[in-house]
Amino acid sequence: MAFNSELARLLEHPAIWRGTSVARAEVLSSGFGALDERLPSGGWPRSGLIELLVSRFGVGELTLLLPILAALTSAPLARSCVWVAPPFEPFAPALAAHGVALERVLVVRVPAAHKRNRRGSLDGILWAFEQSLGSGACDLVMAWAKRPRSKEVRRLQLAAERGRTLGVLFRPLQAARESSHAVLRMAIEPSAYGVRVNLLKSKGGVRGSVEINLLAAGSGA
């Protein structure tokens, strides 16, 4: 991946499109410099599905998304930000303190009574996730699903592209072994002052891990 500067400059030409790069894709800064450097095109993709694999719920995965949550919800002409089946109640005052415009936030609960088979509420969660992604009414859709099948993740990815929506799927770390159609997969583990983000799959970007200091950035207000 080492190009000399001459070649790199040439490749910056907008008419040149390379398969390994999605440089022209619209991205949003993650708010963390170290992470931006590793992410393809320097930020979260504007549309598509990304997977965040967490060792334990609450290690800091939501804090990692707070900057774009704030940026997306408070932008002019912002669309909704949907939370599908969050495990607890999103605490509105904390979100507002981080600059999230609450009027854009929509929480979708999938009732347990909606069980159709042994997969419990998973079908309902995936349905709501896909509807939200594909509707075009959302900028960001986050979903907490235990174990969606690879085929279903593919559907979600297509829906996210159709609706020009960034979909974030939170999964347990064990899912890292399965293949996935998400454009970006990262494992998130706690470290001394924040989290260690391990990029497992990154379309057109570099793999590897990066330490992010959430405390220095002020994970809470």
Partner: protein
């Protein structure tokens, strides 16, 4: 001989016409008495075909005038004086009315008269009858028989024995004697017929809500076939709403069974909707989720009150494209999710004033894209605001939106600061996740445990409030890390027995 002066008068008018047009009016009024202040169309309905009713015709007739009255069981009168010019006079209006009768499949006879009763009676006779001024009315009525007045048989027979068979003969009878013999009611009816007394009628009010029931030809169990059976009623609903330029926010579908009480399927919409295809789609989702105890024998649709619909224009850009906002997609998404998951499943969040974490927020009805007032924040585009949002935490808010965290530290009162509230707890951190209810933690020698020992971090915050409404709390909140590196928000009761609870996670 009587024609003599009349002809002369007309001649005189022809001569004078170009010279003095102002006098034309006076000549006109001399030649033809003034039109009556009212003109009524009476329609006598011979046959109602199909599902047509008097109400359907009355609803349709409201395009001529709001003064439509029903004369049950088979009549309709409408006052059309004000709208004659819109239909090119009486002929045009009669033609338009006949067309409407054809559309709703009603066969009727029509008459025009200055009083509603005269119009109705003449329509029942069935011969062409168009009288536009009051002076001619009595003259034209005299030859009509008495039967269309629909008086009781014995009255008509007694009148016939007296040799009174037409309206004219009845009008010629002495009033006092007529009233004594046949009752003042019939006399006053004659007065209303000729316009001597006012004829007050109730105006027809069309149904405000849509309500239609249909018996099914056979019992149905499959939701797809039920939806197909509902389709014609939904189409009617579409017409109903279109005529009113309204949408509905509530729709109730009742499915009746042989024994079991009717199943209810209620659709609540986030925004007024009049699109039949979307209503059908949403109702289909609802029916799909419905568990029927028995096959369905008949179904009924009931709408809520129609709401005036605001027609929107489509934006140039797709949502998400170059900053295109979500127009109708947002309410549509909410409705689709609610149709399947239930009304309570989708909600928004809002902050409430107060220090108690449980009462610092609440659910709310989702704010839909069109009404949310977040726009006009300068030419920021949809581009990322980048690390700006992050700075909010440390240094007093990102400036442009007022809910920045520690900016509230400077003596801000807990109270509404439009449009957002400012967190009143200053520099203290709040977790992103709140447990629905505090979860008691195990203890080991007074220290809390959760999946192992906990590492304390940062300051302690005391929240002691709520004594005025019975929901008093006294807690010391701590931020801790568990052995997996998860940041937790726990508290210790101030009161005995000083138990430890987990209340939130920083995520």
């Amino acid at each position: 001989m009587s024609n003599g002066p009349r002809t002369r008068k007309i001649d005189a008018r022809v001569v004078r016409l170009p010279a003095a047009p102002t006098s034309l009016r006076s000549v006109d009024t001399q030649q033809e008495p003034a039109d009556s202040p009212e003109l009524w169309v009476g329609a006598h309905i011979h046959a109602l075909k199909g599902e047509a009713t008097l109400e359907t015709l009355a609803t349709r007739a409201q395009r001529f005038t709001p003064r439509v009255s029903l004369v049950p069981p088979d009549g309709l009168v409408l006052e059309v004086k004000g709208s004659l010019h819109l239909f090119n006079g009486t002929e045009g209006l009669i033609r338009a009315f006949r067309q409407d009768c054809d559309v709703v499949a009603v066969e009727s006879a029509i008459a025009l008269a200055p009083t509603p009763l005269a119009a109705m009676v003449a329509a029942r006779v069935g011969k062409p009858f168009v009288v536009t001024n009051e002076a001619q009315l009595v003259g034209r009525l005299t030859s009509l028989p008495l039967t269309p007045l629909r008086w009781p048989d014995d009255v008509v027979q007694r009148l016939a024995r007296m040799g009174v068979r037409t309206i004219g003969q009845a009008l010629r009878l002495p009033r006092a004697g007529f009233a004594r013999r046949f009752g003042p009611a019939h006399l006053s009816e004659l007065d209303r017929l000729t316009g001597r007394n006012a004829d007050l009628r109730h105006h027809f009010q069309p149904r405000e809500r849509f309500r239609r029931r249909r018996e099914l030809t056979y019992e149905m169990e499959n939701d797809a076939t039920i939806l197909a059976a509902l389709a014609p009623m939904l189409a009617d609903l579409g017409k109903f709403l279109e005529a009113r330029q309204c949408g509905i926010t509530d729709l109730e579908c009742r499915l009746w069974h042989r024994h079991a009480p009717p199943s209810l399927c209620v659709l609540r919409l986030a925004a007024p909707l009049a699109d039949v295809a979307r209503l059908t789609e949403l109702l289909g989702e609802r029916l799909n989720a419905l568990v029927l105890p028995e096959p369905v024998r008949s179904c009924e649709l009931r709408s809520g009150l129609p709401v005036l619909r605001v027609l929107s224009c489509d934006p140039l850009w797709q949502p998400g494209e170059y900053g295109g906002s979500a127009g109708p997609e947002s309410p549509q998404l909410v409705e689709r999710l609610r149709a399947r998951l239930g009304h309570e499943a989708v909600y928004g969040l809002q902050m409430l004033p107060g220090h108690r974490p449980e009462q610092a927020w609440s659910m709310r009805e989702p704010v839909l894209a069109s009404s949310a007032g977040v726009g006009a924040r300068g030419p920021g585009g949809t581009g990322a605001r980048g690390p700006g949002g992050q700075d909010a935490n440390a240094s007093g808010g990102p400036g442009e939106h007022g809910a920045g965290g520690p900016s509230a530290l400077n003596g801000a009162q807990p109270g509404p600061r439009s449009p957002k509230l400012v967190a009143p707890w200053g520099a203290f951190r709040r977790p992103l996740w709140l447990l629905p209810a505090p979860q008691q933690l195990e203890e080991l020698e007074g220290a809390p445990l959760r999946r192992g020992s906990l590492r304390f971090f940062g300051d302690v915050e005391r929240i002691e409030t709520g004594w005025w409404d019975g929901g008093e709390i006294g807690r010391d909140y701590y931020t801790v890390f568990d052995i997996y590196g998860v940041q937790l928000w726990i508290f210790r009761e101030r009161a005995e027995p000083h138990r430890w609870f987990l209340h939130g996670m920083f995520g």
